[in-house]
Amino acid sequence: MTGTLEHCNIVFDSLENGALVVDEECTVWSWNKWLEINTGIASEAIIGSNLKEFYPELDYKGFQRKIRTTLRLTTPTFYDASLSNRFITIPRNKVTTSLLTNMQLQVTISPYIPSLKRVMISIHDISDLHELKMTLQHRMAEIANLNSVLKQDKQIIDTNLMIVKTDCGCLVTDVTKAFSCFFGFEKEELTGNSLSNLFVANKHEAEFLQMKEVLNKKERWSGEMEVLKKNGENVWMDAVISPHLDEKNEVISYTAIYHDITDKKRIELLSITDPLTKLYNRQKFNEVCEQMLMRQHWTQESTFGLLIADVDHFKNVNDTYGHQVGDTVLIAMADTLTDAIRTSDILARWGGEEFVILLPDVDMEKATLVADKYRQAIEQLNIPEVGSITASFGVTVFSKGDTQETMMHRADVGLYRAKKNGRNRVEFN
């Protein structure tokens, strides 16, 4: 028996893990070299003693129960090693990581000499594995946290930002709630449909075509667009459309982000609109006129004209019928001119009973003809209470070196001459 035990001790000492033998009362019968080295307790000191003297902090009730189970069932029992070390504390010397200062142990209690109620306890250092597990758990917790933040952000985006995702053929693949609610569609109505069908309001306008051109070049486009809601209401959107490219530089999808700027547009419109006639006001006219003057391509044959129209005998209308009727006359004149002018003409109220029109792509002769056409349209007017009215026109065209003041002055002189020569006529200057 002694020889066998000595042989066992030699085997225990050669193990690369801890091995000790204890009985049911926790008296230590063997303590291998690995334990001597790692605990600093010599086998001579501990063998024959009770483990409780060296490790009083251990839960001996549970430990002894495990020993009993091992002996009774002649089967190994185990300590849980997934959370914290529950057996004896063995310091860890690893310095490159500091997660664990003591070893995490995998402890197995196996039957050794059941007749003597002795068990062998093998101890494996699983600290590296445990550290990896802890790091992994920490990372998983971080990922879960990030996912939760992302989910919250996604909800915020979904309910507050109007975003549409389309495939490379501009067929809608996904929309946010904010987008579908704003436009009055169900998500299902939009998915699979062409986005351009939605925005039929300005489909053929220059801005829309320019957007298509930019996107065809696989570039990001941003700009303003007037679009239709499901209920037919016109709205203005500030849009950013970005293509997503694959590794072969092919478009795989588009993301469009929209921002409702209808109110801003209304305010803008108010700032450039004459409140009575709804025509452009003097400020807007000045702005457009400056832009026209800055264009370099005007020639003598194709230049632009400026026209001033003034309602004849307007003071009499006001004096005879009152200002309210006077206003009606101005509105009727504005509406008539709006209907009569060419698409490219810019009409504005200059002030009082004076209206101004910019006439692009005309020469002297054409400007005079166009002005006379407008004069005739006004002559046809029949205003309740007042009857027919007439207007006098002064016209000029741009010449090299002109400013707005010089052009206005010449047109004004023309108008003066038209008034002087009997009214209801066009005078070129």
Binding site: G62, T69, T75, T77, D80, A81, R86
Partner: protein, 205 residues
């Protein structure tokens, strides 16, 4: 008949052996833990992976949290012993074994491991004794999961045929109940069938 298929005789013998093993387990638990419990008659089923998933879905609630302890056993017959307790039962078990009213998570884990040790060694141990073979138990591990991911996709990838032996363990006094699954597969099922054949020969010779 395919090699891994069981006849009704095989199933009957296995069921009888498991009855004996479960009785052995309750007796040992009473002795070692001073807890007097009952174990239901075991349910036996040969199934594929989907069958196992469906069975688990039927038997546990996907909304509860569970302490799942898995312990491998190897030898001529081998497989996986799974002990499943819901959170409330696990806490009650921890309170009971550690004689406290406020156990730590680590205490609960260790208590669950301790009960699993007894259950696995007594049920599997007795079964293998009866079949004249031996098994080796590996260190168990416990994790806390919700019902659905009890058996992960990765774990079942290599399983073709699975033998499911399940039962319910109850300690009414301590408000602890759990479920046991013993899973074995393919070649292990063939070995089990051969061992049962030997047992049948032994019984009827």
């Amino acid at each position: 008949m395919q090699n891994n298929e069981f006849s009704s005789d095989h199933l009957d013998v296995l069921k009888e052996l498991m009855n004996i093993a479960m009785g052995n387990a309750t007796a040992n638990i009473a002795d070692l833990l001073q807890a007097f419990g009952t174990m239901h008659i075991p349910h036996l089923q040969i199934s594929d992976v989907d069958g196992l998933k469906n069975y688990i879905k039927m038997t546990i609630s996907s909304e509860d949290e569970y302490y799942v302890t898995k312990q491998l056993f190897g030898g001529k017959i081998g497989g996986e012993f799974i002990f499943l307790v819901n959170k409330e039962s696990a806490i009650n078990l921890g309170n009971y074994l550690y004689d406290t009213v406020k156990v730590s998570d680590a205490d609960i884990m260790d208590a669950v491991i301790e009960l699993t040790n007894i259950l696995s060694s007594t049920t599997i141990g007795r079964l293998t004794d009866e079949l004249n073979t031996k098994v080796q138990f590996f260190a168990p591990y416990t994790e806390v999961v919700s019902g659905d991911p009890l058996i992960s996709e990765e774990e079942t990838l290599n399983y073709h045929k699975i033998i499911i032996i399940s039962t319910v363990l109850e300690f009414q006094k301590h408000k602890i109940s759990g479920q046991i699954f013993i899973l074995s597969r393919d070649e292990m099922i063939i070995s089990l069938r051969e061992l049962i054949d030997q047992k049948l020969e032994e019984l009827y010779s």
